[in-house]
């Protein structure tokens, strides 16, 4: 049997391409300085160090160590935009990338609203998102965390027949943006997580459930919680059957409501509104949801996993109220969409990495929570379906038409109590209707990995399709 204790040497620096955040910023600054007359140039430079460990059956299945780095360069000249990227900070590669971006700009069409973000004077908040301890945390310890979560998952319940995968992952990332308009900002962050996917079987068939814990440093990871959630989710679905088709009220578990908010935020994209791809495009100032629905995006909140000092164009992050007491107050804007709408950027430029130009999106969404925890909320409403997991979000939800149809697993709720488990069914409605059929907002708010906080959310008049 292979040993399970493994030590890992980080890939040591091997050239001139090592830098701390200030060096990344200097590099970005240098690229921005290449702007010619009549040209705007922006460089986004990023670097990350990542570890991932996967264990199976008490052994390490794989252990990866990686460094990634790259630059994305945007050139706007004569209101035409071009972009190029390279997964390398090698000086000659960066120069080639600059030339490519410049050449690409010749082929974009003139769009009077195109242009980089001018500094807007908003001071970025200081956010404490980096823990130097992560860099010093021994690899053995990371492996142990993955092994522990697998072991804990198996030990919690005799009906757990296996753990499909147990993982540890972490990353330390740094990013810097500089532009010829005077943007100059950098930040860094650490995150680490453990995951467990449990397989439960009591003779009635296999059910799955996953649990996780996320933190900024491994010392703060909660192995017990990850294991307990995975086991509870898998075991409580044992014996699940296809429910009869009906109309009912659904209760979205916090992780599902967080995804739901993410969907709503794409409808609130200023870009989607401008291009006629949002069903809310013409509804500014109108009631679009129930009066107790207040949706805020606030990446300055340090508890949000999507918190960040600045957005994808280097403007300071800020708190934006999107829907207030059910009334649509504003769309999310980046510099382009803001300018074209006659508004300023709301600091909501987002980019997926150095390989793309900034789009528009939310990073830290939350609803104003209600008063009741989940059991009290279920009790106050009585009957319905508690949705534990969904599938087909990408194939069954359309933010342009508002159609909503997803596969679900969950538990029926009767007389306020959790009853039998169900599977192989779908729930459907439309997004505008769902926003107006919200029955209750739970008080059990928690920040989840990704761009939103979750809480139990009850939505009425949903079609459950089963047998």
């Amino acid at each position: 049997m292979p040993e399970t204790k493994v030590a890992l040497a980080q890939v040591p620096p091997t050239g001139s391409n090592r830098a701390d955040s200030s060096e990344l910023l200097d590099l970005a600054d240098r690229v921005a300085g290449w702007a010619r007359d009549g040209e705007q140039v922006e460089a986004y430079v990023a670097r990350g160090t990542h570890t991932s460990v996967r264990v199976f059956g008490g052994d390490v299945e794989s252990l990866s160590s990686a460094q990634s780095e790259g630059v994305g360069i945007r050139v706007v000249a004569g209101h035409r935009q071009g972009f190029a990227y390279a997964a390398s900070l090698d000086p000659s590669v960066v120069e080639e990338t600059m030339a490519e971006a410049r050449d690409n700009a010749r082929f974009g069409e003139v769009d009077e609203w195109l242009g980089l973000a001018p500094p807007d004077g908003v001071e970025p908040v200081d956010l404490d998102l980096y823990r130097p301890e992560l860099a010093d945390f021994p690899t053995d310890g990371k492996v142990d965390l993955a092994l522990e979560v697998e072991k804990a998952t198996k030990a919690l319940d005799p009906r757990i027949k296996g753990v499909e995968s147990a993982d540890y992952g972490d990353s330390r990332v740094e990013g810097a943006i500089a532009s010829s308009l005077g943007i100059r900002i950098a930040s860094r962050r650490t995150t680490c997580s453990i995951w467990s996917s449990a397989l439960a079987d009591d003779g009635s068939g296999t059910q799955t459930g996953s649990g996780y814990s996320v933190a900024r440093t491994p010392e703060d990871l909660d192995v017990e919680k990850a294991a307990r959630d995975a086991v509870e989710k898998a075991t409580r679905l044992l014996g699940a059957t296809k429910p009869p088709s009906q109309r009912l009220t659904v209760f979205l578990e916090p992780n599902i409501s967080a995804s739901f908010l993410g969907i709503i935020s794409s409808v609130l994209s200023g870009m989607a509104a401008l291009k006629g791809r949002s069903f809310l495009a013409s509804k500014l100032g109108e009631e679009v949801a129930v009066p107790f629905f207040t949706l805020v995006d606030d990446p300055t909140n340090p508890r949000a996993w999507g918190a960040s000092r600045f957005d994808g164009e280097g403007l300071a992050s800020r708190r934006n109220v999107l829907i207030e007491d059910g009334v649509l107050r504003q769309f999310l804007q980046n510099t382009y969409t803001g300018r074209r709408s006659g508004l300023a950027s709301t600091g909501n430029a987002v980019r997926g990495g150095f390989k793309g130009t900034p789009g528009v999106g939310a990073r830290a969404l939350s609803l104003t929570p209600g008063e009741l925890d989940q059991p009290a909320l279920l009790a106050s409403i009585g009957d319905g379906l508690l949705i534990q997991s969904v599938t087909g979000m990408h194939s069954g939800v359309n933010t342009t038409t508002g159609d909503f149809s997803v596969g679900i697993q969950g538990l029926m709720v009767r007389n306020g109590e959790i009853a039998e488990p169900v599977r192989e069914a779908t729930v459907a409605s439309t997004l505008p209707r769902m926003m107006n059929e919200i029955v209750a907002v739970g008080g059990d708010i928690e920040w989840l990995p990704g761009g939103a906080a979750g809480l139990t959310l009850a939505i009425g008049d949903i079609t459950l399709s089963g047998s």
Partner: protein
């Protein structure tokens, strides 16, 4: 030319990787260039160029894999990555095992006739405009058109401690059109169509981009009259090509030997058993000429091949990568793929399709008194451990008294893989394929699926209407 690394360097790196007692070491060097162009909202928004180059090194010792990757292709960079991978897979012993490169295969050239990199950017821009014009003139209700062109050239070299050295040049080209239609009542609908292959720019001699665009526009415009899809269990006829994703989700993932090995597949221990209707013969074929999911060698250096997975309803084999095959003492089936040098290879599908049967497609519809005729699917998701899967219908119609009638709004279909496979009761004599991206464990790879027109006796439709 594949990335050039001297043989002596390759041997030295592999020898270093085995220094801590590994059984197997592999060096994967990749050089990828990508270009894309996007037209939206009536304008060519931007052109993007990208370059990604680096090496991944894995060391296998017993059940444990150590992996490291680097973008530094100097001798020092490769050695550092080899050291890191070796440390990650470290065992008790130290050893010196010289690696000799004894099994050299000539580079597999791309079959592309016209390299996209030789096409002027202005020609790519022209393609976008032709597509837009065609879409907009198809129907008066078209409000928005987005056209995305992308090409990629991926050259890699893979060498391992068994002495193998192999390399390949892959070229892929693809264009997608997505359209929004709106009527005077403010109802919006979307339509999408794509055409791509493991081919060069010559694809546009065979595929008229205008046809692709018109198809997307037609779809959106026709859906303006759509009614909500029914809710509940109904027979589903899948048009040729449009329903291949059913097999990708219903059983394709469950036949990946890594998931089988984790007890995470309902198809475990089912080889030799009848798992589908006798009408079903399912093949995964990476050697399918010019298809979107094709290649000459997989990312572990094994030749792509045609693998029969289900024959006449009987499960004949799973798909295999190097690691899983080695564990079972058999040959890889050429299904070891990775998104890039930054990822570990795993078992992946290529072009997965069902062979044509004997039925007349029109007769299948005529003999369906009531049901759904599904022309295009938008994507899907499966839980391989339970077999439950969903996929979204993006173009579907009602069948009433054997005639295709009203268009239906988008909805997900849900089913259980083994049950759905068994309930296929008609198989057409036509055939078509469909190109997409398959995501697994965070890695996306190009795949295609295909099938003749066929009927599933019963599936659950997740609409809001009355069945």
């Amino acid at each position: 030319m594949a990335p050039v690394i001297e043989d002596s360097v390759v041997s030295r790196v592999l020898t270093a990787a085995l220094r801590t007692g590994g059984d197997f070491a592999e060096l994967f060097v990749e050089d990828r260039r990508a270009s894309s162009a996007r037209l939206d909202d009536g304008k060519v928004e931007e052109l993007t160029s990208g370059r990604d180059r680096g090496a991944g090194i894995r060391v296998v010792r017993g059940e444990t894999t150590g992996f490291a990757h680097t973008s530094d292709l100097t001798d020092a960079g490769l050695n550092a990555a080899a050291e890191a991978a070796a440390a990650a897979a470290r065992g008790g012993g130290e050893g010196v095992r010289e690696v000799a490169l004894t099994s050299r295969r000539p580079e597999r050239p791309s079959r592309a006739e016209v390299l996209p990199e030789d096409i002027p950017k202005s020609v790519k821009v022209e393609l976008l405009k032709r597509a837009e014009d065609a879409a907009r003139s198809e129907d008066g209700h078209i409000r928005q058109v987005a056209v995305t062109y992308g090409d990629g050239r991926r050259r890699f070299l893979v060498a391992n401690s068994d002495g193998l050295v192999a390399s390949e040049d892959q070229v892929r080209t693809r264009t997608s059109v997505s359209v929004v239609a709106r009527n005077s009542d403010g109802v919006m609908q979307t339509g999408y169509e794509t055409a791509g292959g493991t081919v060069g720019f010559e694809i546009y001699d065979k595929v008229q981009i205008e046809d692709v665009a018109r198809m997307a526009a037609r779809r959106a415009a026709d859906l303006l009259k759509a009614r909500p899809a029914p809710s509940g269990q109904v027979p589903v006829v899948l048009k040729r090509g449009g329903g291949g994703i059913l097999f990708h989700e219903a059983c394709g993932h469950g036949l990946e030997s890594d998931l089988v090995g984790r007890d995470a597949s309902v198809f475990k221990d089912k080889v030799g058993s009848q798992v589908a209707s006798p009408l079903v013969t399912l093949v995964d074929d990476g050697s399918y000429v010019d298809e979107w999911g094709s290649y000459g060698i997989d990312d572990e250096g094994h030749a792509a091949q045609r693998n029969t997975l289900i024959e006449g309803g009987e499960l004949t084999d799973y798909m295999w990568d190097f690691l899983r095959a080695r564990k079972e003492g058999r040959e890889s089936s050429g299904n070891g793929r990775r998104q890039s040098y930054q990822h570990l290879p795993m078992v992946r599908m290529t072009n997965t399709y069902v062979l044509a049967g004997d039925d007349d497609p029109e007769e299948i519809i005529r003999q369906t008194p009531y049901g759904i005729y599904c022309v295009q699917l938008g994507g899907g998701q499966v839980n391989t451990a339970t077999g439950d899967f969903v996929f979204g219908m993006t173009e579907a119609y009602l069948i009433e008294d054997g005639v295709v009638t009203a268009p239906l709004r988008a909805a997900n279909l849900i089913g259980n893989g083994p049950e759905v496979l068994r309930s296929i009761d008609a198989m057409g004599n036509d055939f078509e394929t469909w190109a997409g991206t398959c995501g697994k464990d965070g890695q996306g790879v190009p795949v295609s699926s295909g099938q003749p027109t066929l009927r599933v006796a019963s599936m659950t439709v997740g609409g809001t209407g009355v069945a």
